[in-house]
C-alpha cells in the first residue's frame, strides 16, 4: 500500500492517528452526552475544580507516557508522589521558601526515578518487578518514618498564596505547559525521537548508534522529577499532606496512557492522545454523578475502558501483523 502525496496529508494522518482520533471522539461523545443529559456539568467553577484535581495526574501521565513509549513501565510513581509530597511538606513547614521546596520535591523525585532507572537499565531487571519493589519500599518507608502523621502546611503555601481561583488557574496552566512542552519535545527534539526508537526496537536503536540504556534511565529519572512536580501541584490544593496520598495514582496514569493510544509494547503513541485519554477517564466519575449513576461503578468502568483499549490494540496488531 502506497500513500500518494496529495491524499497522504489528511487521509494518511487520519489513518496514522486513528487511535488518537477515536479517543478524542469518545471524549467528545461523553462531553456531548453530558451537555444534553446533564447540562449542570458545565458550570465554570465545578468544572475548574475538576480540571484542577486532575492537573497532577496529567503531569505524571506525561512522564508515564515516555516510560511506556520506551517499552518499560513504572508502578512506583504513586509512592514516589507521596514521598515527594511529605518531603516538600516538611520542608515548607520548616519555613523554607516555596521555590526551594519545589526544587527539593523535584530533586527527591529524580533521585527515586534514577534508582528505578539504574536497576532497570543498568542491571537489566524487568521494570514491572523493580518498580513493584520500590513501590512497596518507598510506601512502607514513608509510613515508618511518619507513622501516618499528617503534615500541616503553612498558610502561605496554599494556592501558592494566590487565592483559590487564580491558584487553580495557575495549576491548570502549569500542567498544560508541561504537557505542551513534553509533547513538542517528543516531536521536535532528537532525544524525544530516541525514546520512540528505543521503544520500537532497542537492538536496532543500538545499531543506529543510540544508547538505549541511557534513554531508558533518562525516562525513569524524568518521570521521577515529574512525580515531584505533581506532588507540589497537589500539595498546594490542601492545608495538609496525607502520607497515604497517591495510592492508586500509578494505575490512573497507566490507564490514561494506554487508553490514549500508547502501545504497551512501546514505540507508538503521543502525548495528545494521552491528554484525551486522561480527560476521558476523568469525566467518568463526574459524568456518573451527573447522570445519577452510582459513583461506585467508577473503578469498574475505568477497568473496562483499559481492557477495551488493550483489546482494540490487540485486534489492530493482529490484523497488521498477519
Amino acid at each position: 500500500m502506497k500513500a500518494d502525496t496529495p491524499v497522504a496529508g489528511i487521509a494518511g494522518g487520519l489513518v496514522r492517528y486513528s487511535r488518537e482520533f477515536s479517543v478524542a471522539f469518545a471524549l467528545l461523545a461523553v462531553l456531548g452526552g453530558l451537555a444534553v443529559l446533564a447540562p449542570s456539568f458545565y458550570q465554570p467553577q465545578p468544572l475548574l475544580s475538576l480540571v484542577t484535581r486532575e492537573a497532577p495526574t496529567l503531569v505524571i501521565a506525561c512522564g508515564m507516557a515516555l516510560v511506556i513509549i520506551g517499552r518499560q513501565i513504572d508502578i512506583s510513581v504513586g509512592s514516589q508522589f507521596a514521598v515527594c509530597a511529605v518531603c516538600a511538606g516538611v520542608l515548607a513547614s520548616m519555613g523554607w521558601p516555596t521555590p526551594v521546596v519545589l526544587l527539593a520535591s523535584i530533586g527527591c523525585g529524580v533521585l527515586m526515578g534514577s534508582i528505578n532507572g539504574l536497576l532497570v537499565a543498568g542491571l537489566g531487571l524487568p521494570s514491572i518487578v523493580v518498580t513493584l519493589a520500590t513501590m512497596v519500599t518507598w510506601r512502607e518507608g514513608l509510613r515508618w518514618l511518619r507513622q501516618g502523621e499528617f503534615v500541616n502546611l503553612p498558610d502561605g503555601l496554599q494556592w501558592f498564596g494566590l487565592g483559590q481561583v487564580a491558584g487553580q488557574w495557575s495549576l491548570v496552566a502549569t500542567s498544560l505547559v508541561i504537557l505542551v512542552v513534553i509533547a513538542l519535545a517528543m516531536r521536535r527534539m532528537a532525544a524525544g525521537r530516541f525514546i520512540y526508537a528505543v521503544g520500537a526496537d532497542a537492538e536496532a536503536a543500538r545499531l543506529a548508534g543510540l544508547r538505549p540504556h541511557w534513554v531508558t534511565f533518562a525516562t525513569f529519572a524524568l518521570l521521577g522529577g515529574l512525580a515531584g512536580l505533581a506532588a507540589m501541584l497537589n500539595l498546594v490544593q490542601s492545608p495538609q499532606v496525607d502520607p497515604k496520598m497517591g495510592t492508586g495514582l500509578e494505575l490512573k496514569a497507566i490507564a490514561a496512557v494506554v487508553v490514549g493510544g500508547v502501545a504497551i509494547s512501546g514505540g507508538r503513541g503521543n502525548l495528545w492522545g494521552v491528554f484525551a485519554g486522561l480527560l476521558l477517564l476523568a469525566t467518568v466519575s463526574p459524568a456518573l454523578t451527573h447522570l445519577r449513576i452510582e459513583a461506585y461503578w467508577e473503578k469498574a468502568i475505568q477497568g473496562t475502558i483499559i481492557l477495551l483499549a488493550v483489546i482494540a490494540d490487540g485486534l489492530r496488531t493482529r490484523k497488521t501483523g498477519a
Binding site: M189, F194, L210, G267
Partner: protein, 501 residues
C-alpha cells in the same frame, strides 16, 4: 582500471569446529557490480560479516580504500563507507520513512532540534534518487518488504556509502520492483559506488553484474568477468566435481505410499499446489534455495501453519492437521531447522527434552513416571550414541551434533510413520554429520518415510532415493536419487526445463 575500493586477502574464519572461510581472496572496484555466488553455507554470509565488521576474521588482511584496516568494528566499517542491505531490513516499524532515514544519518546527540521539513526533504531527495515512489511520511510498517529495502538503500546512499552490499535483494520482489531495483543498482554503479551483489538468480547476475566470484565450502573457486562465462559453467563451479563424502548406501526397498500430498497450499506462508508421494522406507530429499518454501511446507505438514488448500493423505485416509498435536497423533514428526530455538530447550535436561512430545503416551494420566522417562532416555542415548554425562545433563551443555540427536530422539519416541528432518546437519561437525546420515538410513530401513530438507546439495544427492526440488513455494521437479548436482541446482535456480516431474 578503476581503483580498488576493497581488497580481501587470504581471509579465514572458523566457528568452533566449523571452518567457514579458508583463505578467501576478493576485491571490489569503484563503479562495478561484483556478484557473489555460492550454495547455502558456502561462506557468503560469513564473508559479508567480515566486511561489515560484525565478525573479526581469524587471519587475513582487509584493505578498504587503499588502507589496511585491523580490528574492524561495525561502526568503523560504516565510517569507511560500508553499507549492507539485508533481506530483512532492520528498520523501526512504527516510525515514518523520513525518521528512519534520519535516525541513521543524524548525529547521536539528543539535545538538538529535529528539523522535520529538512528530514522530509532529505528523505524525499534520497528516495527520488533511487527512483522509489514512497512518501517520506509513510510509517515503515505500512511498506512492503521491497519498499523497506529501498528505504535501506536510501539510508546507505545518504550515509555516503562507497561499498554497498546487497544480500539477495530480489528474493521477495515482483517483476516490476526488480526492474526498479536494477535501475537503482545501475545508478549506484554509475556514480562510482562498488556493489557486492549476492543472488541466486543467474539471469540477474548476467544482466547486472560486471564480475562474479563463486564460493564453495569456504573457498573462492574463481572470479570471472560475466561476459567470459556462461550459466552451465557457473553451476559447475558452484557444485564442484565430485561428492567428497561417502554416504551410506540405500538398503531399503520402498514400500507402500505413506504420505501423499495433492495440490497442498497455504496462502499465509506462500506454498502453492504441492503434490508428491512418499513411500515407506524411502528418503525423499527436498532441495531448493533458502526461501523456496521447504520449511514452510514442513510447517504445513506439522500443523504449525495449517494448509488451506489441497489434501493430505496418510495411508489413503484424508487427514487434516490443525496443530502439532494432530500431527503427533497421526504419526507425523518434524525435527525443526532452528535447533537451539525450536529443536531443544537448552536449559532443560536431555531426559525432559526427549520425552517432551510423548507426554500423553509415556505418562498416562499426566503423572510423570521418572523411571519410564529415564529408561526411554537411556535407550535413545545408547541407540543414537548421544555423548553426554547422563540423562540429567542440560541440552545446552551438549555439542551441536548431540543436541540434534536429542531433538531427533524426541521425535523418534513418538513412533512416527513420517519423519520430516529440516537441515539436520547444519552447524554440526563432520563426525556427527555422518553419524546422523547413518541414523537416517537406518530409520528408512526400518520402514519410516523420511523427508529430508537440506540445503547441502551433496547431502541431498547422497542421501535421497528421490529428490523434490522447490522454487518460489512450488514443487518444480521430482528427480531420481542419482541425478547430477547440476541438474538439481539448475532446477532449484529455475534454469532447467521446468516441472520435469
Amino acid at each position: 582500471m578503476p581503483p580498488h575500493l576493497l581488497e580481501l586477502r587470504n581471509i579465514t574464519k572458523s566457528y568452533l569446529d566449523v571452518k567457514a572461510l579458508r583463505g578467501v581472496d576478493f576485491d571490489l572496484r569503484a563503479g562495478e557490480v561484483h556478484a557473489l555466488l555460492g550454495e547455502n553455507g558456502a561462506g557468503k554470509s560469513t564473508l559479508i560479516k567480515v566486511i561489515t565488521g560484525a565478525h573479526a576474521p581469524d587471519d587475513g588482511t582487509i584493505v578498504i580504500a587503499g588502507e589496511t584496516v585491523s580490528g574492524l568494528s561495525p561502526d568503523a566499517a560504516r565510517r569507511l563507507g560500508v553499507a549492507c542491505i539485508y533481506q530483512q531490513p532492520a528498520l523501526f516499524p512504527a516510525l515514518t520513512v523520513a525518521e528512519n532515514i534520519a535516525l541513521r544519518l543524524e548525529p547521536a546527540s539528543g539535545f538538538r532540534k529535529v528539523d522535520w521539513p529538512a528530514r522530509r526533504e532529505r528523505a524525499a531527495g534520497l528516495l527520488t534518487r533511487i527512483g522509489a515512489d514512497i512518501s517520506p511520511e509513510t510509517e515503515v510498517c505500512r511498506l512492503s518488504m521491497p519498499e523497506q529495502q529501498l528505504v535501506e538503500i536510501a539510508c546507505a546512499l545518504g550515509a555516503g556509502a562507497r561499498i554497498v552490499i546487497m544480500d539477495e535483494p530480489t528474493a521477495s520482489l515482483t517483476q516490476k520492483e526488480q526492474h526498479l531495483l536494477f535501475a537503482v543498482v545501475s545508478d549506484l554503479r554509475d556514480s562510482g559506488v562498488g556493489v557486492i551483489y549476492i543472488s541466486h538468480r543467474l539471469d540477474e547476475i548476467f544482466s547486472l553484474a560486471d564480475r562474479v566470484t563463486v564460493l564453495r565450502d569456504g573457498e573462492s573457486v574463481g572470479t570471472n568477468p560475466v561476459d567470459e562465462i556462461n550459466e552451465s559453467a557457473l553451476i559447475q563451479m558452484m557444485v564442484g566435481r565430485e561428492v567428497a563424502q561417502i554416504y551410506p548406501p540405500s538398503e531399503s526397498e520402498p514400500g507402500e505410499v505413506v504420505l501423499s500430498l495433492r495440490e497442498v497450499g497455504c496462502a499465509a506462508s506462500g506454498v502453492k499446489g504441492v503434490s508428491f508421494d512418499v513411500r515407506a522406507g524411502e528418503v525423499f530429499g527436498l532441495a531448493g534455495l533458502v526461501g523456496a518454501g521447504r520449511t514452510e511446507l514442513a510447517r504445513i505438514l506439522f500443523g504449525l501453519t495449517p494448509a488451506d488448500a489441497g489434501e493430505i493423505r496418510l495411508r489413503d485416509a484424508v487427514v487434516t492437521v490443525h496443530s502439532p498435536r494432530d500431527a503427533v497423533a497421526r504419526g507425523i514428526a518434524y525435527v525443526p531447522e532452528d535447533r537451539r530455538r525450536h529443536g531443544v530447550v537448552l536449559e532443560m535436561p536431555i531426559a525432559q527434552n526427549m520425552t517432551m512430545a510423548v507426554h500423553r503416551i509415556l505418562f498416562p494420566g499426566s503423572w510423570l513416571r521418572f523411571g519410564a522417562e529415564r529408561r526411554l532416555t537411556l535407550d535413545y542415548i545408547r541407540d543414537l550414541a548421544v555423548k553426554a554425562w547422563g540423562p540429567e545433563a542440560p541440552a545446552g551443555s551438549l555439542s551441536g551434533g548431540n543436541q540434534q540427536k536429542v531433538s531427533l530422539a524426541r521425535w523418534l519416541a513418538t513412533k512416527p510413520s513420517v519423519l520430516i528432518m529440516d537441515e539436520p546437519t547444519q552447524g554440526v561437525d563432520v563426525g556427527a554429520k555422518s553419524e546422523i546420515h547413518r541414523i537416517v538410513r537406518g530409520l528408512a530401513k526400518k520402514g519410516l518415510a523420511v523427508i529430508l530438507i537440506s540445503s547441502d546439495l551433496p547431502e541431498v544427492l547422497g542421501m535421497s532415493d528421490r529428490i523434490g526440488v522447490m522454487r518460489g513455494g512450488r514443487l518444480t521437479a521430482v528427480l531420481p536419487g542419482k541425478s547430477s548436482a547440476s541438474t538439481v541446482m539448475a532446477a532449484a535456480l529455475g534454469q532447467a526445463e521446468k516441472g520435469a516431474a
